[in-house]
């Protein structure tokens, strides 16, 4: 559905994208992760034909990016971009008109989109009277009104409360079940882990790692991670080194990578003689992989 090959973009002396290549299959949710300035928004701008790349090619459903491919793409930007003085239905009708939808077809799409984002009962509500979560869902409905093949969600849940976030996640899963291909950018790693079939990690315009969660887990030689709180950190680190447990710090937490899963009792045995305040086991999560990938690159 989406194929990006050797994409490069420079602003003045600053290289924003460097030979970026990735592909997203039909019906897949692809998560693009990276710190601010990694090139995520620039990539979206190029995909949407708002910016020209210096080099490289993009194919959307087999077509090179142009004004025509705008109709294949739906974008829900990070900011909630809606007309606040229009009702939900009027917002959708306006954008449906811009995409050339008229008459009965337009009415049906407006109703379907409002239903899809669970705003059917708020069709006549003025957008500014909706809650933040509802406004975000309306913004998503606008992105869907012309039945895009590729949906780009830029930080879809940033600023939403937990309940609204869960609702948005369910909605994204539903859109995938409806056959829509989704390219998603997010800073929330649990969101990417929960939603994405494949994930790409971008830093300074370069794709550092890419794959499914199972594939990405291969990037670090750990089956499990153990977090330890102890007043004798040096002793714990020395013991872990002797056991060949690589040591990391996640924030202030002292962590060790376990090469294979271990029962709590076995872990306590390995650290016997060192005073431990707490020990907790964690599976290898995307945040661990992400930090490792980002720190390995210069």
């Amino acid at each position: 559905m989406l194929k990006i090959e050797h994409l490069s973009k420079t602003y003045g002396q600053r290289r924003v994208l460097q030979d970026l290549s990735l592909s997203v299959g039909a019906g897949e949710i692809y998560g693009l992760l990276g710190p601010n300035g990694a090139g995520k928004t620039t990539t979206i701008n190029i995909l949407c034909n708002l910016l020209q790349a210096d080099r490289g090619q993009i194919g959307i459903n087999g077509q090179p990016v142009s004004a025509k491919t705008k109709c294949l793409i739906g974008v829900a930007p990070q900011e909630t971009l809606i007309y606040r003085h229009l009702t939900c239905a009027e917002n959708l009708r306006f954008f449906a008109n811009l995409y050339g939808l008229t008459g009965r077809g337009q009415r049906e799409r407006v109703e379907a989109c409002l239903a899809a984002v669970d705003l059917a009962d708020r069709a006549a509500s003025v957008a500014e009277t909706l809650s933040g979560g509802m406004q975000r869902r309306l913004s998503l409905a606008i992105a869907l009104v012309h039945q895009p093949k590729l949906l780009i969600l830029d930080e879809p849940t940033t600023g939403l409360d937990l309940e609204a976030r869960f609702a948005m996640w369910e909605l994204i899963h539903q859109l995938q079940r409806d056959g829509i291909t989704i390219l998603l950018t997010t800073h929330l790693l649990d969101e990417a882990e929960r939603l994405c079939d494949r994930i790409g990690m971008l830093k300074q315009g370069q794709l550092l790692a890419e794959g499914s969660m199972a594939e990405l887990r291969q990037l670090i030689p750990a089956q499990e991670i153990v977090l330890i709180q102890t007043p004798a950190e040096d002793a714990a680190i020395a013991r872990a080194a002797a056991l060949n447990f690589p040591q990391r710090r996640y924030g202030r937490d002292l962590a060790f990578w376990l090469p294979q899963p271990m029962e709590l009792k076995a872990i306590l045995t390995q650290f016997e003689g060192i005073p431990l305040d707490s020990v907790s086991r964690q599976p290898v999560r995307l945040e661990h992989i992400y930090l490792e990938v980002m720190q390995r690159s210069p």
Binding site: T41, E79, L81, L86, L98
Partner: protein, 263 residues
């Protein structure tokens, strides 16, 4: 058809938003009526001392109506309205959403023009009907008057695009722009004070003011029954100015697109 649908969609959206703000709609109606009545009363009173045969209120309104329409009502609806629309889109970033859609720049430009033209036509009818109801009897060519009104609308929308895209980023900027550029031009154009009482130096200066020419052209058509030949200088000045402003407005809009066309 694409341009047609898009233009209508943009215009309908602007008018729907205006309709939702009923208070604003009411003020758009109150403002020209208030200026018309004030201008009419000033004309009528001044004529008692300045003319051998004083004007009736109806005759005074015949002269006050053109000044009120092109000099005040259309200025605020078409110029101020266009600036406000563009600035609001920039301020609320909805312009970015439009960039993502297939909406063409031409349709957007025409849509804003059409929406504010609709408001302007409403104001024209309101002013005309009020003046007639109070005794005014307009003369001259309706077609020529309509052309002058259309040229005035185009000129104002063009200037609105220039100001909205180049000089105003926030809603607050609109006030300062209108205060700095608009009010002096309106006064010098004879919108609030009849031009015939201007001292010579201001009258000479007014020759460079497009609002003065809009005002003079329309007044001479509807109050004195002049034909194109008699208002030629005002008319062609206005044609040139409207064309220039449309071109400059379009170029300003294109420049804004180049600068802001990204998420």
């Amino acid at each position: 058809m694409k341009y047609w649908y898009e233009t209508i969609a943009v215009a309908r959206r602007i008018l729907t938003e205006l309709g939702r703000r009923k208070r604003s709609l009411l003020f758009w109606a109150v403002f020209p009526i208030a200026v018309l009545l004030l201008n009419g009363l000033i004309f009528a009173e001044r004529s008692k001392t300045a003319l051998p045969d004083p004007l009736t209120l109806g005759q005074a309104l015949e002269r006050a109506a053109p000044a009120t329409l092109v000099g005040a009502a259309l200025f605020f609806s078409c110029l101020g309205g266009s600036v406000a629309t563009v600035v609001s889109e920039r301020e609320h970033h909805t312009l970015k959403r439009l960039f993502l859609s297939p909406l063409s720049g031409v349709s957007y430009f025409l849509g804003i023009g059409l929406a504010h033209s609709a408001i302007a036509i409403g104001q024209t009818l309101l002013i005309g009907m009020t003046a007639v109801a109070l005794g005014a009897r307009f003369q001259g060519s309706i077609g020529l008057a309509a052309i002058v009104i259309c040229l005035s609308i185009l000129a104002y929308v063009g200037v609105g695009f220039i100001l909205g895209t180049q000089l105003a980023r926030r809603t607050e900027d609109v006030n300062t722009l209108v205060a700095a550029f608009g009010v002096p031009l309106l006064i010098l154009g004879g919108a609030f004070v009849p031009a015939f009482i201007f001292p010579k130096v201001l009258l000479d200066l007014a020759q460079y003011n497009p609002i003065f020419h809009m005002n003079e052209a329309l007044t001479k058509i509807v109050a004195e029954g002049n034909e194109l030949a008699e208002i030629g200088f005002h008319f062609w000045f206005l044609v040139g100015f409207a064309g220039l402003m449309l071109l400059a407005g379009w170029l300003s809009y294109r420049r804004m697109l180049q600068v802001e066309r990204r998420l």
